[in-house]
């Protein structure tokens, strides 16, 4: 056990049992999986991506590139979970990944031996012969070897939520700067959200042994939190990672249930927070970086700052006997803390020749052996057992099982770059600091490169106050508490030249110093080329550790400064986010809302089979007892309409109420035909174009009064047409005196069609004479009452081709109306019919619908050429006259029937001439809609053919190569049934 006897922010009274690779271990409440593994002396935790090298824990948080595990099991298995951020819970299961057959013995470690050949981008240069081998042999093998953990095989059983939050000041990070910022802003009365990624507030204050106002930093944390908690305007959110900054929106993910074995019932696993903040303060701290030297990837080699965290926060000695290798003062405190905690430190090796006397004295006081001007150039052991170093011309081997390394800190500036701001190189601290930030964001503390504790406290307070002030509050920065300031000097050092063994830059992706050299040699000098060519920084840590050392190496190769070399872009998210959080509840049936018609419950009662029609759920057909397939039901429904009376809910059509003296004028400008002459009490069919001359939509518009009109649109285009009319009224012709409102939701509309429909309707309306042939002729429209006083609009329209009425009533009366119609019509077996029967009948009638109104057809293509007025301007009129749109050889709307009446036609077939080869050049057209007509007793179809009506009578082929049919068809006029329209006119 490497658990230290005392101290640490763990609760030693709460033991937690967990497994790693099926072995049982114990940790404490307050541990991460990583700290618990270290406490149990588990050093080897993973394998690297390419060479499958043994790897141990190197970091302490989101930056961890090595210690990735499959957490949980079954449907909840989460690959690539960082052990460093996984909060320990009782019963946690973790499994190592990317190894076979075991973590200890991984066959693909042989790749490491081949590393001289598997250098950067070697795969672009080989695996090309023979041609087929890439896909058959190499790629599958590469794919199997690549990847990291395994996805679960089943649906994610957990739920996710999305929520909105609003605040004046968002503070990101709760270290010294973040806490001070939250306090300064909170005291002003501003609404503050403090978001902390960790499960504990405090940031580095939990990891470092320093003093604030002469007390332990955790006391400052507790005191500040207590005050913040007492402020009603402050919201503290831990386990909440601010992942990205979008326009006017901070996206954060709160891990609500990840620290539990499974979330409680109805408790989400995670919440995606969309935070609208007037101002934000980024206080995300900084991360330690590795030094590139031979064997720096061995388990046991760790970054110095995280090592300090394990010692102080988790009471774990990362090694029995360790050494420290660094170029900066901060790493010295890791050695001090290790010593003070009772661990053994063999030596501290600093690349600098001199350090501050204070530091040297502190080391001397502790009896720490210090080697200045030294370099570690090799390591040994599967897990580290020794390091080789040189200093003052001598080399030496130290037997250690841990090495803490540091090349200095990188401020966590990723979020500052999410709007494209470019980081700025600061030579003094050898790190990138924030450049131009997204609007409203300022940065405080170590994230700016200010590493001293008092600076962090002061900057946080100042930025918090400033943010609150800018958000409209009266704020002053609180006095900065007295803080102990450890020395923070550094001298840039990146790479130990002449190392033994591979010197890693990117641990997970196995990018070595030599790969950077090769990339330079081959001309991949730009930082983006370097990244893409070597995969440097493309691993799950997104270069948090590797980016700067990699750039430094490239800068050296090209003889430029790091500032000149530049950096790759940080893109969202800051650290990986579960995809489920972005989806929230939008899964399964709740993916999108289902719109139901007013008669949905009735249709359910009648046993309807429903079908998804865009956002709607509509009745497709209504099977009755004894019917064994859908066709029998549909044919019966069609017969009912053709022979007696049928009923269908057509409420899904778009309905737009138009009022005002200029409606007629407006309609003349948006339809190709004229409407201003339409008498009151009449409806007219209209076709509207887009401005580019192609058909947008069709429908009927009725005039109910001098200045009152009601337009119907197709179901699919309801919103589009409404928007189009608003565009015309508000942008093109604001002088027209028209008011409009979409009333699609307000009116239920029931169509009643068939030879018996008038008799039935007469019993529904309060005044039977209203619907007589004289009072309500074909294409008539009137307002009346039904069901004893219910307001209604009745239209003599027919999509089926039979005598037909459409009755509109307020939406909440729709079901009652439909029930009454069915009840009253029982004597004629009034039959509810669905979309399928409707489609059959409209094909029989040759009415165009969605498949023909596909946005690629003109009015003339659809047979409406003669409807188009030549006496007026209307939307699309000019562009419809372009040569390609008036070409007589365009594909025009026709009907098809098979020459052999037993054959079945299907939509999607193309049209070819007899004997023509199946080529694009010979393509004459296509079938859009097809059915077997129960009325006619054979297959019929609608579609388009080059030349259109001119080809009527010709015999062509409906060629469906995809489904292997090729059928002789006769071209007909599209109306197969009652082509003169006598039945609907009756």
């Amino acid at each position: 056990m490497s658990r230290l006897e005392k101290n640490g922010l763990i609760d030693r009274t709460q033991k937690l049992r967990f497994t790693f690779d099926s072995k049982f271990f114990e940790g404490f409440q307050g541990d991460t999986l990583a700290s618990a593994l270290l406490a149990n002396d588990v050093k080897l935790v993973g394998r690297s991506f390419k060479y499958h090298r043994p790897r141990g824990i190197v970091g302490g948080g989101a930056e961890e590139p090595n210690a990735l595990v499959e957490l949980r099991s079954g449907a909840r298995r989460e690959p690539n979970t960082r052990a460093t951020t996984a909060e320990l819970y009782d019963g946690l299961e973790a499994r190592s990944q990317n190894r076979w057959p075991s973590l200890d013995f991984d066959v693909l470690a042989v790749n490491g031996l081949l590393s001289p050949f598997f250098g950067a981008a070697f795969y672009y240069k080989t695996f090309m012969w023979p041609k087929a081998a890439w896909e058959k042999l190499y790629e599958p093998a590469i794919r199997r070897a690549a990847g990291l953990g395994r996805a679960a095989q089943e649906a994610d059983p957990d739920i996710y939520e999305k929520a909105n939050a609003f605040c004046d000041v968002l503070v990101i990070g709760s270290g010294p700067a973040g806490l001070s910022a939250a306090l300064a802003a909170g005291r002003s009365g501003a609404r503050v959200i403090l978001a902390e990624e960790d499960f504990a507030f405090g940031g580095r204050l939990l990891s470092e042994r320093t003093t604030i106002n002469d007390a332990a930093p955790t006391e400052f944390v507790d005191k500040t939190l207590a005050e913040l908690r007492a402020l009603p305007n402050v919201r503290l959110m831990r386990r909440t990672s601010v992942a990205a900054i979008y326009d006017d929106c901070y996206a954060a993910v709160e891990r609500v249930g990840d620290h539990l074995r499974t979330p409680e019932k109805f408790q989400p696993r995670q919440i995606l927070w969309r935070i609208t903040a007037k101002r934000a303060v980024l206080a995300a701290g900084a991360l330690d970086r590795p030094i590139v030297f031979g064997g720096n990837n061995r388990p046991g080699v760790m970054l110095a700052a995280p090592a300090q965290t394990y010692i102080n926060r988790f009471a774990v000695a990362p090694a029995k006997k360790m050494a420290v290798f660094a170029n900066n003062d901060a790493a010295w405190t890791t050695a001090f803390d290790a010593l003070d905690a009772g661990a053994e430190v063999a030596a501290l090796i600093d690349t600098r020749d001199t350090v501050s006397p204070t530091l040297a004295q502190a080391a001397q006081d502790r009896g720490l052996r210090v080697i200045l001007g030294g370099e570690v150039f090799a390591t040994k052991g599967k897990c580290l057992d020794s390091i080789e170093l040189r200093a003052a011309g001598k080399t030496e081997i130290l037997q250690v099982d841990g090495l803490a390394m540091s090349s200095g800190f990188s401020p966590n500036i990723a979020l500052t770059c999410h709007h494209g701001g470019k980081p700025v190189w600061n030579e003094a601290i050898a790190a990138f600091v924030p450049g131009e930030c997204p609007p409203g964001l300022s940065v405080a503390g170590a994230a700016t490169g200010a590493y001293s504790l008092s600076d962090c406290l002061a900057q946080g307070a100042a930025q918090g106050a400033q943010a609150a002030t800018e958000a409209g509050f009266k704020a002053t920065a609180p006095d900065t508490p007295k803080a102990e300031d450890a020395p923070r000097a550094l001298k840039a050092f990146w790479h130990v030249e002449n190392s033994k063994g591979m010197a890693f830059v990117d641990f997970q992706n196995d990018v070595c110093a030599k790969d950077v050299v090769l990339a330079h040699k081959e001309g991949f000098v730009s930082v983006e080329h370097l990244k893409r060519y070597t995969t440097l920084g493309m691993a799950t840590d997104q270069g948090k550790l590797s980016n700067v050392p990699g750039l430094a190496l490239m800068a050296k190769q090209s003889g430029k400064t790091i500032a000149e070399t530049g950096t790759t872009m940080f893109r969202p998210p800051w650290s990986p986010v579960a995809l489920g959080a972005f989806a929230g509840h939008h899964r399964a049936k709740d993916f999108r809302p289902a719109r139901l018609t007013p008669t949905h419950a009735l249709a359910e009662e009648l046993g309807a089979v429903f079908v998804e029609a865009g956002p709607w759920l509509r009745a497709a057909y209504f099977p009755r007892k004894g019917e064994t397939n859908w066709k029998q039901s549909v044919d019966r429904e069609v017969r009912a309409v053709r022979e007696s009376v049928g009923v269908i809910d057509v409420s899904t059509f778009g309905k737009i109420e138009l009022q005002g003296p200029d409606v007629g004028k407006l309609l003349d400008r948006i339809y190709i035909n004229t409407f201003s002459t339409l008498p009151i009490g009449k409806a007219r069919y209209g076709v509207m174009l887009r401005e580019d001359g192609f058909v947008m939509d069709d429908g009927t518009t009725a005039r109910l009064g001098q200045d009152r009109w009601i337009m119907t649109t197709t179901t699919a285009n309801a919103a589009k047409v409404s928007q189009h009319l608003d565009f015309c009224l508000q942008n093109l012709w604001p002088d027209l005196d028209v008011r409009m409102a979409s009333v699609s939701e307000q009116w239920a509309q029931i169509a009643v069609a068939g030879p018996r429909s008038r008799g039935l309707i007469a019993q529904i309306v309060d005044d039977a004479s209203a619907v007589s042939a004289e009072n309500l002729p074909y294409m008539g429209a009137l307002e009346t009452t039904v069901l004893g006083g219910v307001q209604a609009r009745i239209f003599r329209l027919s999509f089926s081709g039979e005598l037909g009425f459409e009755i509109a009533v307020p939406a909440d009366q729709g079901e009652q109306l439909a029930r009454k119609i069915l009840e009253t019509g029982a004597e004629w077996d009034a039959t509810f019919y669905g979309l399928e029967a409707l489609a059959v009948m409209r094909i029989e009638k040759g009415h165009v619908s969605g498949p023909e109104l596909n946005g690629q057809t003109t009015a003339a293509d659809l047979g409406f050429g003669r409807m188009a007025s030549t006496k007026k301007d209307y939307i699309g009129a000019v562009m419809a006259r372009r040569p390609a749109l008036t070409d007589p050889d365009r594909m025009g709307f026709v009907g098809f029937k098979p020459v052999n009446p037993k054959e079945v036609l299907r939509a999607g077939a193309h049209v070819l001439a007899k004997g023509a080869a199946a080529t694009t050049e010979n393509d004459l057209g296509y079938l859009t809609s097809a059915t077997i007509s129960p009325t006619l007793g054979h297959a019929i179809a609608l579609g388009f053919v080059k030349g259109g009506a001119a080809r009527i009578g010709e015999i062509l082929r409906a060629w469906d190569g995809l489904r292997g049919t090729d059928i002789l068809v006769e071209i007909l006029a599209p109306a197969f049934y009652d082509s003169k329209g006598e039945r609907s006119n009756g």
Binding site: R76, P79, N98, P116, G119, Y124, K125, T126, F127, K131, W134, E139, R143, R144, A146, G147, L148, G149, R150, A151, D156, D158, A244, Y246, H419, G420, K514, V517, E522, G523, F524, S526, E528, H529, R532, Y533, R571, P572, P573, P576, V577, L579, H586, R587, A588, K589, D590, R592, E612, M696, N854, R882, P883, A884, A909, H910, D923, W959, D960, G961
Partner: protein, 417 residues
């Protein structure tokens, strides 16, 4: 140096002592026969085929940043030829054929992998539309197959078949479609063009043009001097309008942002590419193991090269609804590219509209798959001063004549294509 297994072994044994630049870094000549502006896949492929197919080697490719820094390096790496309209389909099918032999052609492993693409079908009406398309593909010599729900389930067992808001009723499969390594394509064309004598000039932004007395374009201005050329070809999709405006031209193009996403790498899960037919979502898995996915455009004009949250939510709502195991995988990185959205959603390859000028633009969000064929046909257009037969429908004047190639049928509304 020709890349080969032998070469890899020698370099391994000699610690890359003999490694050489993949392409030269030359000083520009004062004048070129053809100057291609834009060092993306299309520009580099154009230069390559100018040299290879037409023997025109006094060619330079001018790139404002590093080659492949635009959409060539930001796409989701899919190639396919599953188009509907005769103006498009034969062209894209030619492109797939070129993809099929690109490694050998370029002596560079671009990792083209014909893993197949399935467009999922969720309704009878959608099936009719896809059948029409599948047949159009077959007419053009492409492959297409109609899958029923059971076949889709065998191929993609991890989708939600039992509880979906929009049930999966089948799919249209193009088996020869696939993915390639986008950066590899850029570097492969660059290296191969360079070998044929093409100069690749990086970090040279075009700031203006020099014009002849007749308005002809005679050269370009860069911060590091003027470069003359007999012919100047624009292949800068995403920035076409910006460059065209320097020539006083307005194009039927608007710039919009398309986001793309990659998950953390996982072991092989997804066999090919598939698209959700009732939401905005498509996905594939890279050789490295990351799930690469995307959806709809951020639907407003933008040059910001970054997107917003509503589209991300929309994409992942579709993704998780379709494939519920996705929920526990993690988003690693998101980025965005600038799309040259043309007014009919189809590309423009043409001569003119000014003397000496050639235009390759408007690739909308589908330029990557076209890379080889675009280079092939554009090179032909430039070399012969006539459109290639496969791109004769893609001319600029189609908007004037009405011969638009509007696959989606939404009209002159770029954000809807």
């Amino acid at each position: 140096m020709r890349y080969s297994l032998f070469n890899v072994i020698v370099n391994g044994l000699t610690k890359n002592r003999f490694a050489e630049r993949a392409w030269r870094d030359p000083e520009p000549k004062p004048e070129y026969d053809v100057l291609v502006i834009g060092g993306g896949g299309h520009g580099l492929a154009t230069a390559y085929y100018l040299a290879k197919n037409h023997g025109i080697t006094n060619v330079a490719v001018l790139e404002k940043g590093w080659i492949g820094s635009g959409n060539a390096g930001r796409n989701t790496t899919i190639f396919r030829s599953n188009y509907l309209l005769p103006g498009n389909e034969p062209f894209y099918e030619h492109s797939v054929k070129l993809w099929e032999g690109l490694e050998q052609e370029l002596n560079y492993n671009v990792m083209a992998s014909q893993r197949g693409i399935v467009n999922l079908i969720h309704s009878d009406a959608q099936r009719d539309v896809y059948v029409r398309r599948g047949n159009a593909m077959r007419l053009a010599g492409a492959d297409s197959e109609l899958l029923d729900a059971a076949q889709v389930r065998t191929l993609l067992p991890f989708l939600d078949y039992d509880n979906a808001r929009f049930p999966i009723k089948g799919g249209l499969l193009q088996a020869r479609a696939g993915t390639a390594r986008h950066d590899g394509v850029v570097w492969g064309f660059a290296r191969a063009a360079d070998k044929l004598g093409v100069d690749i000039l990086q970090n040279r932004e075009v700031t203006g043009f020099t014009r002849g007395p007749d308005g002809a374009v005679t050269g370009v201005e860069t911060p590091r001097g003027t470069i003359k050329a007999k012919k100047i070809a624009l292949a800068v999709a995403g920035s076409s309008s910006r460059l065209a405006s320097k020539l006083g031209l307005r194009l039927p193009i608007e710039s919009l942002v398309m986001q793309a996403f990659v998950s953390e790498a996982i072991k092989p899960l997804i066999p090919g590419v598939f698209t959700f037919g009732a939401g905005h979502f498509y996905i594939s898995q890279s050789d490295k193991g990351g799930l690469v996915f995307g959806g709809d455009l951020d639907g407003y004009n933008s040059y910001a090269q970054r997107g917003n949250l509503p589209v991300i939510e929309d994409v992942l709502e579709g993704g998780v609804a379709l494939m519920p195991l996705l929920g526990r995988l993690r988003l690693l990185r998101q980025w965005a590219g600038l799309c040259d959205m043309s007014m009919d959603g189809s590309p423009i390859i043409d001569i003119g509209p000014l003397p000496n000028l050639y235009l390759n633009a408007g690739w909308s969000y589908g330029g990557f798959k076209a890379t080889p064929a675009s280079g092939w046909c554009f090179a032909h257009t430039i070399a012969r001063d006539e459109p290639h037969p496969l791109t004769k429908a893609m001319r600029l004047d189609r908007f004037r004549t009405g011969h638009v190639i509007d696959e989606k049928g939404v009209g002159a509304q770029p954000n809807l294509h």
